[in-house]
């Protein structure tokens, strides 16, 4: 991510903030959030399953506490979602890694849509 337009901090076009903080720190966090909520709404899993997976991911991060790595709540959230989907036989982490590798190979500038 390089040059981007400065954020408007007041007025109708301002990004939503709760007490001065953006609801999502980065765009991928909102996508990870939206995927879980949408899948749950469509009946793909019970919320309790997802929550148990989220608790497990957070606990695993706290046990390992990788040196120098900041805690990422939505990182744990995404990992929890992946594990629930894998358990349900919907999508494996292998599928995701393969597709991510394809996306990583795109030429720079492919997503300049704004």
């Amino acid at each position: 991510m390089t040059a981007s337009a400065p954020l408007e901090i007041a007025g109708p076009a301002a990004p939503p903030r709760s007490n001065g903080e953006l609801v999502f720190a980065e765009p991928w966090e909102s996508r990870a959030f939206g995927l879980a909520v949408t899948l749950y709404d469509a009946g793909a899993f019970e919320w309790s399953q997802f929550q148990a997976a989220l608790i497990a991911q957070i606990a695993a991060w706290e046990r390992a506490h990788p040196a120098g790595e900041c805690f990422s709540y939505y990182g744990c959230w995404l990992a929890a979602l992946e594990s629930v989907l894998a358990e349900a036989g919907m999508i494996t982490s292998h599928d995701i890694a393969d597709r991510a590798a394809v996306l990583a190979a795109r030429p720079p500038g492919h997503d300049h849509d704004h």
């Binding site: 939503p16 991928w28 959030f33 899948l39 709404d41 989220l54 709540y73 995404l78």
Partner: protein, 198 residues
């Protein structure tokens, strides 16, 4: 790139994008529905909802009773319901007792009234330390409580999602419900701040 486990060597934004593509292609996620949810939690659902609940409780004694006895139902009366709005229990802060909310295991939070949780609420340090040394953590967050105020730490879970009914500040007797709602902050409804008169 940060150090990650072997299955997550690619940047997380790419993994997220890959997952979204796969789920969309397989018809498991409708992108329009997903955008609607994201937009809802970014703009329509937030602490302003909870503030209306608190202001009503401050001005309507019967509503206050209902709110303290049946949180989720009383909140639904104002139209606020939905995911993570089940099992909301409202607890009152008084001059002698101060309640503060944490979720030690993850980040259970009453979305319909407060929106999505702020980063400090999800932080491992907050979740661990608020239980062990609430007075110190509250002071660090700018809330110094008198030594004789009892602090009760409320641990939210999927069975109980706590919401604090803060004390109505002195000097607000002449304010309308709407004006009062403008004073109530998210942090006060989590118990890490008090509501101040304007």
């Amino acid at each position: 790139m940060t150090e990650t486990t072997s299955s997550e060597r690619l940047p997380i934004e790419l993994r997220t994008e890959a997952l979204e593509q796969l789920l969309t292609e397989r018809g498991l996620v409708d992108p329009a529905v997903m955008d609607k949810f994201i937009q809802m939690y970014e703009t329509a659902v937030g602490p302003m909802n909870g503030a209306k609940v608190i202001a009503k409780a401050w001005t309507d004694p019967e509503y206050r009773e209902r709110l303290l006895s049946e949180g989720t139902a009383a909140i639904a009366e104002l139209g606020f319901k939905g995911s993570q709005g089940e099992h909301i229990v409202v607890i009152e802060n008084t001059a002698n007792t101060h309640n503060v909310v944490v979720c030690t295991l993850c980040s259970c939070y009453p979305w319909p009234v407060l929106g999505l949780p702020p980063s400090w609420y999800k932080d491992p340090a907050y979740r661990a330390r608020m239980v062990r040394e609430p007075r110190t953590v509250l002071a660090e967050m700018g809330l110094e409580l008198p030594a004789d105020t009892e602090i009760v730490v409320r641990d939210s879970s999927s069975e109980v999602r706590w919401l604090v009914l803060p004390e109505r500040p002195a000097g607000t007797e002449d304010m309308s419900e709407e004006q009062l709602a403008g004073l109530v902050t998210r942090d006060a409804m989590m118990g890490v701040a008090k509501v101040s008169a304007p």
